[in-house]
């Protein structure tokens, strides 16, 4: 039987935005009234981009929330991270297929000549190895290296939010909010890393500091 009844609920919540989007696309496809504006493809780009950033930030919040409030949510971190990849893939697919329909000249020009899109592409590319190495067996096999690799999520989220900031035309409020949340999360990490380090040197402990710091 289901051991953890919360998990399916979590999946449903994480899938909900995309299910809503697919439903709206279905309406659009059938010429029914829909909520994707008169320019649905642009709307899909923005919608999926926004949800990618949100899931990246949520996945980065799991550890601090678990530590500070003693929530038992660490076991969901991997799933939430994978949903960030899921929405990023929708974002990228929409761009490649619906928006530019494999118009490689324009796509390559975009990605290599326009820094805003270069940053987005770097962010998405960095997400791929993280998603691939998310199976239990690979996590076990990689051990400490897995933790090291997955710290990339901070780097790629910075790229993603810079991309977000640069892609908006005038109103940078939302990307600024995203960047502020990321700053707090990064600040927390640095802070807890430092306090752990000083605690340890107080106690004159030896051993693999780095490992513990990463795990923290």
């Amino acid at each position: 039987m289901i051991k953890d009844f919360k998990r399916p609920i979590l999946h449903l919540i994480c899938l909900a935005p995309s299910l809503w989007l697919f439903h709206q696309m279905w309406l659009w496809y059938n010429f029914a009234p829909h909520s994707l504006t008169a320019n649905p493809i642009e709307y899909i780009t923005d919608f999926t981009g926004d949800w990618t950033v949100r899931f990246l930030l949520i996945s980065l919040s799991v550890t601090p929330l678990a530590k500070i409030f003693k929530f038992k949510i660490l076991k969901y971190r991997r799933a939430i991270g994978l949903y960030a990849f899921y929405y990023a893939s929708l974002h990228f697919l929409n761009y490649m297929v619906l928006d530019y329909f494999f118009d490689w000249t324009l796509i390559l020009e975009d990605i290599f000549k326009r820094p805003a899109l270069t940053f987005g592409m770097i962010g998405f590319t960095l997400l791929i190895p993280l998603a691939i190495t998310s199976t239990k067996s690979i996590i076990k096999k990689m051990g400490k290296n897995w933790i090291k690799l997955h710290r990339l999520v901070y780097v790629l989220t910075i790229f993603a939010i810079v991309h977000n900031y640069m892609m908006v035309k005038a109103d940078v409020l939302i990307p600024i909010i995203h960047a502020s949340i990321l700053t707090v999360l990064l600040g927390y990490r640095v802070f807890s890393y430092k306090s752990k380090k000083s605690k340890r040197s107080n106690k004159q402990l030896s051993g693999d500091r780095k490992h513990e710091a990463i795990v923290s």
């Binding site: 008169a38 320019n39 649905p40 697919l93 892609m167 109103d171």
Partner: protein
């Protein structure tokens, strides 16, 4: 899910009928020398008035493309004074009061002063012009405007020889425009044209769309339409017209000078730094189409820019 998409670029039956009707009737009436669009569409508000427009040399010339669905023209707008989302203007612009309306005219001209809309626009000489409108965000529409050549207005105001540029301002009123408080742009919205651009017969001061007075979100009661330039040059709800000797610093130039220039001519060869301008999506279409230089009006306007480096003067 994604794979199933194959039809959305076709217009729905509804759209085709309404646009089709419009065209046939328009053609029919045009044959009689006069174009009206009375009662063709449901009015968008209590204030909507039907306009009568005479046929003219620029009426739909070269435009063999489908007119954009009226619902999209009314519902998908950039008018930041009413909000940042495309649907915000249609949701919020009802708070704009367009009657009475006054326009201040000053600068290098013989007839400065304060004018009403009817003082500047001869409603008996309205023309319908079907123009492509290309937004800098790489989408476009085909819009049946109603208005008069801006040159007709300028002639009335008698600019002096010092007047090299025409400068325009949109209304700035926090009581009517909720989003002004956000200060995304330094209000009021400012735009300008070089005198020869302003006097060009294609340049239109519009008071209507689809045979009716402009909806507030489209820039009622009067707005500029410069079909060979990006849409943001089409300053809406104009309250000020000035004649200047120097080139105006427009709102978008101020916000991002390396992204938006004074000329803002549609040009697929000059990319916006953050996106390509080579292609555009016509609202209602599924795939992008190539963008035309000067938005397809090169024959009429390219000579205005002879000898200018359009990469520098973007």
């Amino acid at each position: 899910m994604l794979i199933k998409i194959k039809k959305p670029w076709e217009l729905s039956e509804n759209d085709v009928t309404s646009v089709g009707n419009y065209k046939t009737r328009r053609d029919f009436i045009k044959a009689a020398g006069i174009v009206t669009a009375a009662g063709m569409m449901a009015p968008y508000g209590a204030l909507a008035r039907t306009l009568t427009a005479a046929a003219n040399p620029y009426d739909g010339r070269d435009i063999k493309e489908e007119l954009t669905d009226k619902r999209a023209i009314l519902g998908y707008n950039n008018y930041y004074e009413f909000g940042m989302d495309k649907s915000d203007p249609s949701d919020n612009a009802h708070s704009l009061i367009t009657v009475p309306w006054s326009i201040t005219v000053d600068g290098h001209c013989e007839k400065p002063g304060t004018y009403g809309v009817e003082d500047l626009i001869d409603f008996n000489a309205l023309e319908e012009r079907i123009y492509r409108m290309r937004c800098v965000e790489a989408w476009s529409m085909v819009i049946p405007w109603v208005g008069v050549s801006l040159s007709e207005i300028i002639k009335k105001l008698e600019p002096t020889s010092k007047a090299k540029y025409v400068y325009f301002e949109t209304l700035e009123d926090e009581a009517q425009m909720p989003a002004l408080l956000r200060g995304v742009i330094k209000w009021p919205y400012k735009e300008g044209l070089r005198m020869d651009e302003a006097m060009h017969p294609l340049t239109l001061m519009a008071v209507g769309i689809y045979g009716e007075t402009l909806a507030n979100q489209n820039g009622a009661p009067l707005r500029l339409v410069v079909p060979w330039k990006y849409g943001f040059k089409g300053v809406k709800s104009i309250v000020k017209i000035s004649f200047w000797e120097d080139e105006p610093n427009t709102s978008w130039m101020r916000l991002a000078p390396h992204e938006y220039g004074f000329y803002a001519n549609v040009n697929p060869e000059v990319s916006h730094p953050r996106w390509s301008q080579a292609k555009e999506r016509r609202i209602g279409d599924f795939s992008r189409r190539p963008t035309l230089k000067f938005n397809g009006y090169g024959e009429e306007v390219a000579s205005l820019y002879a000898g200018m480096d359009l990469r520098k003067n973007y």
